[in-house]
């Protein structure tokens, strides 16, 4: 089947089998391997992307279901050589170690903050923890992931005095 999905602002056409999962369309057909697969039971959240502005697990959406939709992946977050504030918050707060859950965490967290802003609610630690209940991490114990998201939600990004991002390291 022919599908058209706007991925990170660019309309992409692809021929897929009906059974092709959205995550496989992204990774295998479009080469966007930043979205990871960590389970087969819709549990771990490593494959979280934004589908029409909402965080979803792309392992549990068929590519044909996403036909005509707008998709943002981790590759679409940093723009103009600058990390997205959430990415920066993760870096400044050591919110990642092996990095495998990280794209999903960043996508889930940015959606969480956007929803809180739309609702006019303030995210506290409990709300952040509950808002990330669908994303598993095995490295960090979540401590610094929660700190990262809270820092981003509070606009406390870019304050670290010894930030050293090597030039050219950011695509």
């Amino acid at each position: 089947m022919r599908v058209t999905v706007t991925v990170n602002g660019v309309a992409r056409d692809a021929d897929v089998e009906p059974r092709t999962l959205l995550v496989h369309l992204l990774r295998e057909t479009l080469g966007l391997t930043g979205t990871n697969v960590g389970c087969d039971t819709t549990s771990c959240g490593a494959c979280t992307i934004h589908l029409d502005g909402r965080s979803v697990k792309s392992c549990t959406v068929l590519a044909v279901q996403a036909d005509g939709s707008d998709v943002t992946t981790i590759e679409g977050m940093a723009t103009g050589g600058e990390l997205h504030p959430m990415q920066r918050a993760f870096m400044e707060n050591h919110g990642l170690q092996c990095g495998y859950c990280t794209p999903g965490m960043v996508m889930a967290s940015t959606a969480l903050i956007a929803e809180a802003e739309a609702d006019g609610t303030t995210l506290d630690e409990r709300a952040v923890r509950e808002g990330l209940e669908g994303n598993l991490c095995r490295c960090t114990g979540y401590q610094n992931i929660v700190a990262s998201v809270l820092a981003c939600a509070r606009g406390e990004v870019g304050n670290a005095t010894d930030v050293q991002v090597r030039q050219g390291a950011v695509a």
């Binding site: 059974r19 999962l21 039971t41 979803v56 068929l62 044909v64 889930a108 609702d119 808002g131």
Partner: protein, 282 residues
């Protein structure tokens, strides 16, 4: 991780969906948010030959009030049920329970109709709709629409009263803005199904209590509700919770423990419902 192959039909109207169901019969499965069906298909525990995608039938999504009834379109996502202003004001139990399902990503895709039609005894929403005394509307090409009381809807493990050619279109629940309510979900991780759950609603002597994961189907705790409505204390009413249940055993609970938990959680639910009439969703 990769489903078996299937044919895909995208319905652009309810009639198209019904026609596809009529054509393919038992071979076909309806696909809405896909968050009950696709996980089973990925593990090849389900391999339907045809998927009829009703996900684009926008008319089947949304919440509206009709007098003293609130009508929830079957394709309304858990997220939208949870955030619905109408439900938060009129049926806060349902809005609250939808926010307890799975995790945010699941709630962004999963639909109330899909959850009810899947008829999973471990799901949260069936117990809430049971407690509220809801009614489900089903439509087929051959026979038109019919109403099914929630109490008659869940017929077996992952089996409902829906015929293979029927589409669940809406869920109707009574507006109960002044009712006391509670949902007690007991699990080990926030993202998991309940080991046991209890949904309770109480207004002017009319009570409903629904149970999660206490048998092969979502269950009404009729004995508890009757005792409670009759003026029994939460603790007294909760003692009747085991009536009619057939709890299973698994890693998280023995039959004995599950029954014990049901009583504790029911007592807590009734206490909370009594303590907070007219409260908004938590």
């Amino acid at each position: 991780m990769i489903p078996a192959s299937f044919d895909y039909v995208r319905a652009s109207s309810p009639d198209e969906a019904l026609a596809a169901l009529a054509e393919h019969g038992d071979e076909a499965k309806l696909l809405a948010g896909g968050h009950s069906l696709l996980p089973l298909m990925k593990l090849r525990l389900a391999s339907p030959a045809v998927l009829v995608d009703v996900g684009r039938l926008g008319d089947l999504a949304g919440v509206r009030q009709e007098g003293d009834t609130v009508v929830v379109g079957a394709l309304t996502t858990h997220h939208d049920v949870h955030r619905s202003d109408v439900l938060r004001a009129q049926v806060p139990l349902l809005a609250h329970v939808a926010g307890q399902v799975g995790d945010p990503q699941v709630r962004h895709r999963g639909t109330i109709g899909g959850s009810l039609a899947h008829a999973d005894p471990a799901s949260d929403l069936p117990a809430a709709v049971l407690a509220l005394g809801g009614t489900l509307t089903a439509t087929s090409a051959a026979r038109g629409s019919r109403s099914i009381a929630a109490a008659d809807f869940f017929t077996g493990f992952l089996e409902s009263a829906l015929e293979p050619d029927e589409l669940l279109t809406e869920i109707r629940v009574p507006a109960v803005p002044d009712a006391g309510w509670s949902f007690q979900k007991f699990n080990r991780r926030a993202l998991d199904w309940a080991i046991v759950g209890v949904a309770a609603v109480h207004r002017n002597g009319a009570s409903g209590v629904g149970l999660v994961n206490m048998g092969p189907t979502p269950l009404l705790a009729a004995g508890v509700a009757a005792a409670w409505a009759g003026g029994a204390s939460p603790a007294e009413a909760a003692r009747r919770v085991a009536e009619g249940t057939e709890p299973g055993a698994d890693m998280n609970a023995t039959v004995e423990f599950r029954t014990h938990l049901a009583e504790v959680l029911t007592r807590r639910a009734l206490e909370e419902a009594e303590a907070r009439p007219q409260a908004g969703p938590g």
